[in-house]
Every structure is written in structure tokens, then in C-alpha cells.
């Protein structure tokens, strides 16, 4: 799949934003006043910024509101609802915290639950696609949730929670890479089932001499050359380095560095999530 910057930024930033909202929501002693303002402002900036980037992937962004209509059948539509509901509830929860200093915890719990639901629906957009065997697996929502929870814990300064979550996320990511490399073969879809022909099938001539939308969008093979190096970079920046920084004596600069490193790592991992994903339509072009 084409690793479009708009979708990578969308999933990474909104994942972090909603992850942060989850931890802010379930906090039994939430911050108030300016501290609450800062935390919620960051969470809103990340989640709304991510959603804004997702509009960059649309051919007709001016009609984006129509995406709210098909929540009964479409995960993308459900995601729109979940995101909007989370942001509204978070706003209702945050306003009294910031301006009056009063806490209404049940609203926070609802915000936390909705934040989880939003991350889940985002991941289901990819998980539902049988055409991309690497994504069509229960580990996809698990990994999206793990990244969001680890990132949220890190950003909300929960060192003791963040360290194990980062380690679990890193371990899960390694397994997903290992297992994901085998999923296309396991799916049973190959050039024989694609063409219905038995025997050895080789793509002899593509339909056109030039490229097309399908090849640009779904048959991205360029980035796989450096996949192993990028996996190591993603793991070191996303999980290992932040854990080391968190284990050092706590300081705001170290924490900020840990967050930056984590975000860079998640961006790399998300780039690989798309670039390495093989869409079965590639088989018609003799490509993986």
C-alpha cells in the first residue's frame, strides 16, 4: 500500500491524541486549571490535527461530512462518530476542570471509553480489509491500541505505566512483523486463484505501458528494500530509547525527548505498516 503522508500522520497523531485523552479521562485525580488546559490542548491538537490530515487523503474533502451517514455498515463512518463523540465528551469534561476546577469523574470515564473506541474503529478500517492479508488480523487493533495507550501514558507523564506499556508494544510489534511477513502466503491468494488458471502463471504484459491509480495506490514495493533497517529504527526510537530515558532520573527535558523519540518511532512503524502491506491486486500485475 502507498504510505501516504496524510494517512500516516492521521493514524499516528490521532492515536497519540486519543491515547492521551484516555489517560486524562480515567485519571482519578485529574489536573485542573492551566495544567489541565495544557494537557487537553495537546490532546485536542493531536487528535484534531490527525483528523485534519486524514481529509488530505480525500478526493472531495468538501463532502467529508457525508461520512457520518453509514455508521451501520462502515468502519470509517463509525470512526467519524467515535472521534466526534470523544472530542465533545472530552470538551465537556475538560471545561469545568480548566475554568472552575471542579471534577465530574463519570464524564472522564466516558471520555476514556470513547477514546479507546475511536482507536479501535480507526484500526478496524484496516483490519476489515481481506484484500490486505497483513492487516486482516486481530493483532492490528491490538497494536493500534498498544501504541496509543503507551504513547498516551508517556505524554501524560505516567512513567510507571508507560515503561511496561512501551515494552509490551515493542514486543507485540516485533511479533506482528514476524507473523505479518507470512500472512499473504497463509491467505491462500496467489496468481492461480487470481486468474483461475492452473499451472505456472507469469504476468506477461501489463494492461498499459504506463502506471495507473491501482499501482500507485496499492502496489507500493519501493520501500521494502530497507525494511529491516527501518524496523530496527522504529523499535529503538519507538520503544527502547523512551524506556531508557524514562528510567533515568525524571526531568521534563528527558521526558520531552522520550516523547519526541517515541513519536518518530511510531511514524516509522506506521510508514512500514503501509509500505510493507501487500494488496492482493498486485498479483494481477505480477507484483507482491
Amino acid at each position: 500500500m502507498h504510505p501516504a503522508p496524510s494517512i500516516i500522520l492521521f493514524t499516528t497523531l490521532s492515536g497519540l491524541g486519543f491515547g492521551l485523552l484516555f489517560w486524562l479521562g480515567i485519571d482519578p485525580t485529574p489536573p485542573t486549571g492551566w495544567v489541565a488546559f495544557a494537557f487537553f490542548a495537546i490532546a485536542f491538537a493531536l487528535s484534531l490535527g490527525g483528523l485534519a490530515f486524514s481529509a488530505g487523503h480525500l478526493g472531495r474533502p468538501e463532502r467529508a461530512l457525508k461520512a457520518f451517514t453509514q455508521w451501520r455498515s462502515s468502519w470509517l463512518s463509525r470512526e467519524a462518530w467515535a472521534a466526534a463523540a470523544t472530542l465533545i465528551m472530552a470538551g465537556l469534561y475538560a471545561a469545568p476542570l480548566v475554568f472552575v476546577g471542579t471534577t465530574f469523574l463519570p464524564l472522564g470515564w466516558v471520555t476514556g471509553l470513547l477514546a479507546l473506541a475511536t482507536i479501535g474503529t480507526t484500526s478496524m478500517i484496516y483490519t476489515q480489509l481481506k484484500t490486505v492479508p497483513r492487516w486482516h488480523h486481530a493483532s492490528t487493533p491490538a497494536l493500534f491500541l498498544a501504541y496509543a495507550l503507551a504513547g498516551g501514558a508517556l505524554m501524560s507523564g505516567r512513567v510507571t505505566v508507560a515503561i511496561p506499556l512501551l515494552l509490551v508494544t515493542g514486543a507485540l510489534q516485533v511479533w506482528v512483523w514476524w507473523d505479518g511477513d507470512r500472512r499473504l502466503a497463509r491467505s491462500g491468494t496467489d496468481m492461480n486463484t487470481a486468474t483461475g488458471l492452473s499451472g505456472q502463471v507469469r504476468a506477461f504484459e501489463p494492461p498499459h505501458t504506463g502506471s495507473n491509480y491501482l499501482l500507485r495506490e496499492m502496489v507500493f514495493v519501493v520501500g521494502r528494500k530497507h525494511a529491516l533497517k527501518l524496523r530496527i529504527i522504529a523499535l529503538v526510537l519507538g520503544a527502547a530509547l523512551p524506556v531508557v530515558l524514562l528510567l533515568m532520573p525524571f526531568g521534563h527535558w528527558l521526558a520531552a525527548l522520550a516523547v519526541l523519540s517515541h513519536v518518530a518511532g511510531v511514524l516509522t512503524a506506521r510508514w512500514l505498516f503501509f509500505a510493507e502491506a501487500e494488496h492482493v491486486v498486485g498479483l494481477y500485475y505480477g507484483k507482491r
Partner: protein
């Protein structure tokens, strides 16, 4: 609504004969010609005369080299367009309801004024049947020439999809595959029509007829062959002398 209908009254679709297709791409051209000026937005091209031409097509013809277990390799031309699946994954993923499957005839269509161009339906399609038009920003796909097949302004023989109408080899057939007595259903039954990627669970309506087995040359069939064995092993006479003389040089 992007829920799929439980069942459709008819299942209009194509039967494509891989044995007969000669790979001339006439269906590709007639499809683009008809559909760029009729239903919905035109099928745009980007840099059609430039260095990197590309464009939107609803029908594309691949060619594959098929090497059977025994016997020589053969070339199979492979036209591919929307298969109008019974369980169309492209329809249910649509967030806006722009994609739908018609109850009356099973045709999968895009309501272009509702399409936001998110591209998720193209991701959900295993066959590459949907292409986002870069000029219009909306998803384009085969309509089964819905504006021809019911069009009473056209002569009756033209009321079939442009690709079927134009195919010079008779490799494309159009009809109701939900009716077991239709000509296309009979053709599918007789020739062992098959689904593409059945494991994807899309239950495509369009069927493909596999190439017929080729004749096998089991033994020597040329009755003249025995007469073609060399008559003289060693050259004699003048040619023999010349051969020996040249060898000695």
C-alpha cells in the same frame, strides 16, 4: 444505504471467455469511449501525450504466460473489470452510502455526488476494479453500461455493455447469471465457468471461462517424416573429393 441486499431480482453480469479473447483491447477502448461521455464524470487522462501518461479505465486487459504441468506455454489474455460481486466488500466499507448494489439487477454503482473520494472501496476490492479519477476526485467503476442496457433510444442489438458489443472475437457475453436458464448460465455450466479469487468470499457474478485444453502431439504424425531422413551419409563423387580436399588444406 451501504448494506448489501439479501438477494437481487436479477444478477446481470459478464461471462468472459479466456479461450477466445485475442487480447486486442477493443473492449478497453470502447468502454472508455462510451463511459467517458455518458454516465457520471468523464474518465480523465493525466499527461496523455506526456512523458508519464496514465488515466482512468474501467476495464483493463492483462496478458499472462501459462505454463502447464506438461506441454508448451501458452498466452492467456485476461480482461478484467468490476465483477459485480454478490458480497461486494467495496459497498459495505463506503462511509457515505455512495456505493450501492442495486436490488433490481445486482449492478454495483457509485453515486458520484455522494462520493468523498476516500478510496477505501478501491482498497477493499481484490480485483482492482475501482479507480479514483484524479481530475474529478471521485471513484469510477464499471456500470455494466447501465445507460445502454435499458436505453430505448438505442437499437435493440446495442442494448448491451459497450465491451460486449464491440468484442470482435465474441469473447464477452452479457446476461442474467441469476437465471439458470439464461444463455450465459448455460455457457458457464458447459465450459466450467469460474470465480476469480473465490477465497476472498466476494461471490462474484462475472464468470471466466478457462482456456480449452490444447491438442497434444503424442507421437509422430507427419507421414512424410520418414522420407526426410538423409539419403547419403558420406558425400561421394566430385562433392566427396572436394570435401576431402578442403579438409586437407
Amino acid at each position: 444505504m451501504t448494506d448489501l441486499p439479501q438477494q437481487t431480482q436479477r444478477q446481470l453480469g459478464l461471462v468472459i471467455d479466456l479461450d477466445t479473447c485475442v487480447g486486442c483491447h477493443a473492449c478497453v477502448v470502447s468502454c472508455k469511449g462510451w463511459n467517458t461521455e455518458n454516465y457520471g464524470a468523464p474518465l480523465s487522462d493525466q499527461q496523455p501525450y506526456g512523458a508519464d501518461p496514465s488515466g482512468t479505465f474501467l476495464n483493463r486487459v492483462h496478458s499472462y504466460e501459462l505454463t502447464p504441468e506438461t506441454g508448451p506455454a501458452q498466452l492467456v489474455h485476461f480482461p478484467k473489470s468490476c465483477l459485480h460481486c454478490a458480497d461486494a466488500p467495496c459497498v459495505t466499507v463506503c462511509p457515505t452510502g455512495a456505493s450501492y448494489k442495486r436490488v433490481e439487477d445486482g449492478i454495483v454503482l457509485v453515486n458520484e455526488s455522494d462520493c468523498i473520494g476516500c478510496g477505501l472501496c478501491a482498497w477493499a476490492c481484490p480485483y482492482g476494479a475501482r479507480e479514483l479519477d484524479l481530475a474529478e476526485g471521485v471513484m469510477k467503476k464499471c456500470t455494466l453500461c447501465v445507460d445502454r442496457i435499458y436505453n430505448e433510444n438505442l437499437p435493440e442489438r446495442d442494448r448491451e455493455p459497450a465491451c460486449v458489443r464491440t468484442c470482435p472475437a465474441g469473447a464477452r457475453h452479457f446476461g442474467d447469471l441469476g437465471d439458470p436458464d439464461s444463455a450465459v448460465s448455460a455457457l458457464v455450466a458447459e465450459r466450467g465457468g469460474m470465480d476469480l479469487m473465490p477465497e476472498q468470499g466476494t461471490r462474484p457474478v462475472n464468470k471466466y471461462l478457462p482456456p480449452r485444453p490444447k491438442d497434444q502431439i503424442d507421437e509422430q504424425v507427419d507421414i512424410l517424416a520418414p522420407l526426410l531422413t538423409p539419403v547419403a551419409e558420406e558425400p561421394k563423387g566430385f562433392l566427396g573429393w572436394l570435401d576431402r580436399a578442403l579438409d586437407k588444406l
